[in-house]
Each structure stands twice: as structure tokens, then as C-alpha cells.
């Protein structure tokens, strides 16, 4: 490629990157000028933008953490995630003791392991996790766009399917769901997912390491010793030690190695990928800060949920029966993806506000007023800006082969995410640093799923390359 052409492309990429930033800035200023409540959405937007930039810069994909470990013995992403989680856990502990946290622990049970496993298989097939697919969409990757669509559509259908699925529901779930006395507009005993939630999941204990030890999440001891040290730092260090030992075995027999050498090699493993480590630091700090900022805005406006602000603005469509919408106050991905498809299907005539997921828990607001959607769109924008500035943006049309894997993987991820009440971010990356140990269960499931997924993809790629090798007599 001619030097002048490269310079012209680089200049065009910079222009596009600044165009995206100018657009997001204009949206922020214009909407705030219309109504000060939009600052709530704008806050989500800019945190999403930061996440997108950090994810793309660090090639931060949870799927690759254990997939690359099993497939090609590269630990960089597993390390990056542990760094991010430890830092996030520290900021989360600080936020907790100030009483400014928006986090609520999720229930504990084997369903988290199962959900994580299905999700983990899906991430390997799809070529990325929920957050990875978002930032790769920002790089112009058509396969990642199909994955997003598949996750979104699968979730949207999975949470509303009834009919024959009722036959698969244990009677105890139905009885427990019926006994909850949910609002009449919610069909708690019709639909597998509704009875799974109201009849099983909600009966499980939801606690953190701190509360399990009898401490408050908001006390210094509970936040720092319980959730930060016991809940995050020690398990993360143990996991990395296991990874180090597993990788060391592969190179054993190269001479006598002492404890000092092992410690040096362990540290080298931690700092081996500077980009990933830097992204981990940014993500860890930003995640804690978002919770603090969103809680601050709730206090400022005297609300607990953005649905209340929507009502003040005269927007009532898509609210839950309680007048709320999905408003996590921290980084989340899959629920809002289910929402925008749920909103579209509803507009096309599909009645889905009678299920628990949409009608009681999250709503289906217009994506223009959906806080988490603002975060997702800006995340893609942030990733696009970073990719453009580094000349890594490229439109990539998916092949039929990769589209197949994307649809299949996305479907697995959608089902896994709903069973576990979240994805690699919501069910793992957010829960663990808050001491909600059910996140580790999801993580273990995800590791097992990645292992199986790699086995399947290894088989597939081996067959394909064998054919190419035969053609050039290299087999």
C-alpha cells in the first residue's frame, strides 16, 4: 500500500473517531438541555464509552481467558481479568463503606454452574463473550454483530416461552410460584422461566462472603476483609497459582528451579501483557466509580430507579408493573440486549409484558430511554473510537461458516445468561468483586464450558486444516 494512501486512511480514521465522540457529546449536551434527568442516561453513556475503549485496547474478552489457556496455553486474559476483579473489588469495598453501592447479591445454587457452563460453551463457539462481542462489533466485525443478535433474540424468546414447556416444570416450582401472590398481570405459573424464577431461584439464598460470616457489607471489616480479601483476592490468587502450576508442568525438566525463580516467573506471567493489564486497571476502577456515581444521581433526584424519572418525564410505556425499568447502576450487558428485542417484538404484536423477566423485573422501555442501552451503544462507540485511532477498524463480512458458529454460540450464551441471571459481566465480573460468591460458581461453569467448547472447535479446525495440508502434501 502506498504511503500516501496509508496516511489518507489514517486521517480518515481519526476523522471518524472524532465524529463518534462529537456525536456522543452532542447527544449528552442536547438531551441535558431538554431535561436535566437525562444526565442519568448520559452517565451510563460515558461509562459505557470508557468500557468500550478499555475492552478494545486490552483485547479484553472473558471468553479468551480460559479458551486461549486450553487452546494455545496463553494466560494473558485470565491474568487481566483477575487484575481487573481485584481492583474492582477494592473500589467496590470503598463504595460500600460510603453506603453508595447499587449492588444486590444474586441467589446461590447449582443453576449458576449450569448457566455458566452453557454460556462458556457458547462463548467459544461464538468467538467472544458478551462484552467481547460488543467491542468487536465496534471494530466492524460482522460475526460479532450476528452473535449480539442471536443472544438478544434467544433471550427474548426463552424468557417468554410457555405452552409445552410447562410440562417440564416440577410441581414444587409451580406451587411455590403461585404462593408468591405476584400481581395479577404477571402469569407466574405459565411459562418455564417464570416458574424457574419465582418457584426455584428466588427461594435460594442470596448473600455475600461478608454476610455469610456475619458481617455487614457496609462495614469496614465486611467490605474489606470479607468481600475484598476473602471473597476476591484469595480466590483470584489461588486461581492464578493453579494456572501457573498447570503451565509450568508443560515446561518441566528444563533444570533446577527454586522458589525465587517461581515467584519471578509468576510475576512475569502477571505483567506479560501490558495492554491487558492496563485495560484491567481501567475497568476495575471505572466499574467501582460507576456504582458510586449512579447511586449519587439517585440520591440527587430522590429516586431508586430510572423508571421514576421516566414517569416524571411523562414516559410510561414499557415500565414494569412496579413502575421500574432495568437500572443496574453498574456494568451489565445481556439484560438490555434482551430488552431491545423484547421491545421490538412487543411493537410487532407479541405480548411479553406478562412474564416476570419483562413485566416484573426489567420492563421493555423504548431503547431511546433505556439506561443500560445507552451504556451498550456507547460501549460499541468507545471500542470503535479506539479501533479507529489505532487503525484496527475494518468492516468484516461474516462467512456462512462463521455465521453458523455465531448463531449457535449466541443462542447458548443467551440461554446460559438467563439461567444464571447474567453473563460474564453481570453474573461473574460484577458479583465476585462484591463478595457475592455465586459469581465464582458461574465462573467455574464458564471454565468447564470453555474446555468443552475448545474440544469441539479443535476437532473442527483439525479437520479443515488437514484437508489444506493434504493439498500441499504436508500431512
Amino acid at each position: 500500500m502506498e504511503k500516501s494512501e496509508i496516511e489518507r486512511k489514517e486521517k480518515r480514521n481519526r476523522f471518524r473517531a472524532f465524529g463518534i465522540m462529537a456525536f456522543l457529546s452532542s447527544v449528552s449536551v442536547a438531551t441535558y438541555a431538554m431535561n436535566e434527568y437525562y444526565i442519568y442516561l448520559v452517565a451510563y453513556l460515558w461509562f459505557g464509552f470508557i468500557y468500550g475503549m478499555a475492552l478494545q485496547y486490552g483485547r479484553f474478552c472473558f471468553s479468551s481467558a480460559f479458551r486461549d489457556l486450553f487452546a494455545v496455553k496463553v494466560p494473558r486474559m485470565a491474568v487481566g481479568i483477575m487484575i481487573a476483579m481485584v481492583l474492582f473489588a477494592f473500589t467496590a469495598a470503598v463504595v460500600n463503606i460510603t453506603g453508595q453501592s447499587t449492588f444486590h447479591p444474586a441467589p446461590f445454587g447449582y443453576f449458576m454452574l449450569i448457566g455458566g457452563f452453557i454460556f462458556g460453551v457458547g462463548t467459544v463457539f461464538a468467538g467472544g463473550c458478551a462484552s467481547g462481542s460488543l467491542y468487536k462489533t465496534g471494530e466492524g466485525n460482522g460475526v460479532a454483530m450476528i452473535v449480539l443478535l442471536s443472544i438478544s433474540v434467544t433471550q427474548s424468546i426463552f424468557v417468554d416461552v410457555a405452552g409445552w414447556t410447562n410440562k417440564l416444570v416440577p410441581r414444587s416450582w409451580t406451587e411455590s410460584a403461585a404462593a408468591r401472590g405476584l400481581p395479577a398481570s404477571i402469569s407466574a405459573t405459565d411459562g418455564w422461566m417464570d416458574q424457574y424464577l419465582a418457584g426455584y431461584v428466588w427461594n435460594r439464598p442470596a448473600e455475600t462472603v461478608a454476610t455469610a460470616l456475619g458481617w455487614s457489607d457496609y462495614s469496614f471489616v465486611g467490605a474489606f476483609l470479607g468481600n475484598f480479601v476473602f471473597g476476591t483476592v484469595i480466590p483470584a490468587a489461588l486461581l492464578l497459582a493453579v494456572v501457573y502450576i498447570w503451565l509450568s508442568d508443560k515446561t518441566a525438566g528444563r533444570g533446577t528451579v527454586g522458589v525465587t525463580d517461581h515467584l519471578a516467573a509468576f510475576w512475569f506471567m502477571i505483567v506479560a501483557s501490558k495492554r491487558t493489564a492496563i485495560a484491567g486497571i481501567v475497568l476495575g476502577v471505572a466499574c467501582g466509580l460507576q456504582s458510586f456515581v449512579m447511586k449519587g444521581l439517585q440520591i440527587r433526584f430522590g429516586v431508586d430507579n430510572f423508571g421514576e424519572l421516566m414517569q416524571r418525564m411523562g414516559i410510561t410505556f414499557g415500565l414494569t408493573v412496579n413502575g421500574t425499568v432495568f437500572d443496574p447502576g453498574y456494568w451489565y450487558i445481556t439484560t438490555q440486549e434482551a430488552q431491545w428485542v423484547g421491545w421490538t417484538l412487543h411493537k410487532l404484536g407479541w405480548e411479553n409484558l406478562d412474564n416476570i423477566f419483562y413485566g416484573l423485573d426489567n420492563g421493555i422501555p423504548n431503547p431511546l430511554f433505556n439506561p443500560a442501552d445507552w451504556m451498550t451503544v456507547a460501549l460499541i462507540g468507545g471500542a470503535a473510537v479506539m479501533a479507529l485511532l489505532n487503525n484496527e477498524f475494518k468492516w468484516k463480512k461474516p462467512t456462512m461458516e462463521l455465521a453458523f458458529w455465531a448463531i449457535l454460540g449466541g443462542a447458548f450464551m443467551g440461554i446460559g445468561a438467563r439461567l444464571a441471571l447474567g453473563c460474564n459481566v453481570g453474573a461473574f465480573f460484577i458479583r465476585v468483586p462484591h463478595g457475592n460468591y455465586t459469581g465464582w460458581l458461574f465462573g467455574l461453569g464458564m471454565i468447564a464450558g470453555a474446555f468443552i467448547g475448545v474440544k469441539v472447535l479443535n476437532w473442527h479446525t483439525e479437520r479443515k486444516i488437514a484437508r489444506e495440508l493434504e493439498a500441499i502434501h504436508l500431512s
Partner: protein, 85 residues
């Protein structure tokens, strides 16, 4: 575009995995390198940025060294030499 693995000359091969997302580029690279002889060179063409990070990290582990890299318009062309069987 489908994956292509071709012989370019004596001891020089091309692996084109443009359009592929993780983990395909790194898996194909690993399998291709395993089949080459010590000293052979693989010209790897790909366009998935996250694979770049992983492939450079796995070089030493699977006995290969990066001898030349270029990035133009989101397209990576890397030359990799097999240094250990």
C-alpha cells in the same frame, strides 16, 4: 473468505485467515506451525486484532519467532519462523 494454507516457495508457506474471529486464527496458526519443519517461515494474514495479542504471546510456547509484522487498514501480515520442533 475461507481459510487458505498454501506453499509459497521452498520452506515458505502462507496461512490466510482473514475474516476469522477468535479462536480460529490462533488455532489454525498453532496447527500450521506444528506441521512445518524447523527454519520454515509462515506468512500469516489475519484481521482480528485480539488474535494478534494471543499469537504474539504464544510464540515462545510453541517454538516460533515473529520476524516481521505489518498492519495496514486493519489487515495484519506477520512472518513467523519455526525455531524449535
Amino acid at each position: 473468505m475461507a481459510m487458505r494454507f498454501q506453499k509459497k516457495g521452498a520452506g515458505v508457506y502462507t496461512l490466510d485467515v482473514q475474516g476469522y474471529v477468535c479462536p480460529h486464527p490462533q488455532l489454525y496458526t498453532k496447527k500450521a506451525i506444528e506441521k512445518l519443519k524447523e527454519g520454515d517461515v509462515l506468512e500469516l494474514i489475519f484481521d482480528n486484532p485480539s488474535s494478534a495479542e494471543t499469537i504474539s504471546a504464544m510464540c515462545d510456547k510453541i517454538g516460533m519467532e515473529l520476524i516481521h509484522t505489518t498492519l495496514n487498514g486493519g489487515k495484519y501480515i506477520w512472518q513467523i519462523r519455526k525455531i524449535r520442533a
